[in-house]
Amino acid sequence: MILLVSAVVAIVFGSGCYLLLKGDLFRVVAGTVLISNAAVLTLVGAGFTRGAAPIRPFPPGSEVSDPLVQALALTALIIGFGVTALLLTLAFRVYASSRTVDLDQLSQIEAAREDELEEAEA
């Protein structure tokens, strides 16, 4: 089971990294989301125990599974949700001011802007 979880985490993390390296703002956001979920999955995998649901009263004589990681994962998911919203807002602001989400075009616009500034100074 641990091996399976590790494999899933590896694939999700790898896909996230792949998207991060793409030249498109929204793909970068999607990549960050995937990496955040890889971290959450690792968190769930860290406390992997088999057993009954950890709800009182516990069934006598049986193990209960670890409830703590579920709580951690929930918290981490909420944080991930929040920062995704923030990232999307930032990406939208970049789009609103430059009318493009392509990173190459963005850096061209940036360079043009800097040239303008320098000319204005000179």
Partner: protein, 459 residues
């Protein structure tokens, strides 16, 4: 005792929530935020006085037994960094309020960051550390767009993405710690990791180091830093360099020296090399720049290198030097960044004091930082380290006075909104830097106590 411990945490929380709903660009609201931060800082100072007099204070939320409830603990190290960060936040907020706030949410996010940073420095639980860490970081992402021209949104986006990656790596390290030790409480983690296999614990140590290096903006992890610092308003740059970067210094100290001492000793060479690379890279890049914000941004990369080198040297001397250097560097950067966009002979004098402090010339406080670094270098018997510290100082002399020349002699400094009253905060900070350098005992004692708090276990 419990009330004293929780008040500095609760005050900024309770103040920030209504502040978000109010229009922060109005003077009255901004001064309300300043008042909240001032009360918070007073509460912190009261707690710090108790901690330094009677040793660490600890409390568990909700009266749960320790291990079930969330443990909050104030020790000397946490208090030093909390006081420094909240002090810098207050200085930046007052400065921006005097100059005129342009954004509606600026005061609220500064207060939120105070809440996040204080929680982080008081957390005695690895996961809560992460949660407060994210609270502070999210405020920083929001602040980095403040006063934003178009290019600032792009820099803020890069800042957010890179630092989120760092945060998620840290979260994975937290998962690893929990898997290895079965606990999140820092005391339990220390004993658990000492017993864990070397492969797992070294992997965790590397993940933690990378995560905090990103926050610090150390050399190979720095590319986000200059763009954000250059585009940001001076007050925001001061907050990022003077308050937020403390997360990295504190994190390396707490996780390195407290939770993973064996791994820290094993990796000390790596830390020294990484720190040295930062010192040299930051200084050389800074020499090649002319714009004040740019020079200071690269100087920030160089200066945090000293903290990492000192942690790598380790021992009571090295860790004390790291704490002291972090304090001095936070104050220097707050002073220098806030002085951008101001001019006049008073600001020139304040800037010169800040420059002296970065270089390490007495009587500024930076002199102390350099002295303790030299002492750490001599104590390890490493000639290379002593030469490196000297070289770093010489290079910083070059770039700081190049900057002084172009800004104050050639009059190249671009001036924003420079009413005389906006100089107040810069002058107070300069007096503080000078005072701490002229009367060094308190600073030395505090950093020694803070370093002694590492690895001492539960009270």
């Amino acid at each position: 005792m419990t009330a004293v411990l929780f008040l500095p945490l609760l005050i900024p929380w309770l103040a920030a929530v209504p502040l978000v709903l109010l229009d922060g660009s109005r003077k009255r609201v901004a001064w309300l935020a300043v008042a909240a931060l001032a009360v918070h800082l007073t509460a912190l100072a009261v707690l710090a006085a108790q901690v330094f007099a009677h040793g660490p204070a600890q409390a568990v939320t909700g009266e749960w037994p320790a291990g079930v409830g969330i443990v909050v603990r104030a020790d000397a190290l946490g208090m030093v960094f909390a006081l420094l960060s909240s002090g810098v936040l207050l200085a930046a907020l007052v400065h921006e309020t005097l100059a005129g706030i342009e954004g509606r949410r600026f005061p609220a996010f500064v207060v939120f960051m105070a809440a996040g940073l204080t929680g982080l420095f008081l957390a005695r639980d690895v996961f809560n550390f992460y949660v407060f860490f994210e609270v502070a970081m999210i405020s920083a992402y929001a602040l980095s767009t403040y006063g934003g021209e178009a290019r600032q949104a792009g820099a803020a986006f890069v800042f957010a993405v890179v630092n989120l990656l760092g945060s998620f790596l840290f979260l994975i390290a937290v998962a690893g710690i929990y898997h290895q030790t079965g606990t999140l409480d820092m005391d339990g983690v220390t004993t658990g990791l000492a017993a864990a296999g070397p492969n797992a614990s070294i992997l965790i140590a590397v993940l933690v180091l990378v995560a905090f290096s990103v926050k610090l903006g150390l050399f190979p992890f720095h590319p986000w830093l200059p763009a954000v610092y250059i585009g940001a308003r001076p007050a925001v740059a001061a907050i990022l360099a003077g308050a937020l970067a403390n997360i990295g210094s504190y994190g390396v100290l707490r996780f390195g020296a407290d939770l993973l001492p064996a791994q820290l000793r094993a990796g000390s060479i790596a830390l020294v090399v990484l720190g040295s690379a930062s010192i040299v890279y930051g200084a050389v890049q800074a020499i090649g720049r002319r714009d004040s914000a740019e020079v200071l941004a690269y100087s920030a990369i160089g200066q945090v290198g000293y903290v990492l080198v000192a942690v790598g040297v380790g021992g009571a001397v090295g860790l004390g030097a790291a704490v002291l250097y972090a304090i001095v560097n936070g104050l220097n950067k707050a002073l220098l960044f806030l002085s951008i966009e101001l001019r006049g002979w008073l600001v020139g004098a304040a800037f010169a004091i800040g420059a002296f402090s970065v270089v390490g010339v007495p009587p500024a406080a930076g002199f102390l930082g350099k002295v303790v670094m030299f002492r750490a270098g001599v104590e390890t018997g490493s000639a290379a380290l002593v030469i490196l510290i000297f070289l770093g100082g010489a290079l910083s002399f070059l770039y700081m006075f190049q900057l002084y020349q172009t800004d104050f002699w050639a009059g190249a400094r671009e001036v924003g909104r420079s009413a005389p009253r906006t100089r107040v905060v810069v002058l107070v900070l300069a007096a503080l830097v000078l005072g701490l350098g002229a009367w060094p005992e308190p600073l030395l004692a505090v950093s020694r106590d803070a370093a002694a708090a590492l690895g001492e276990g539960p009270p």
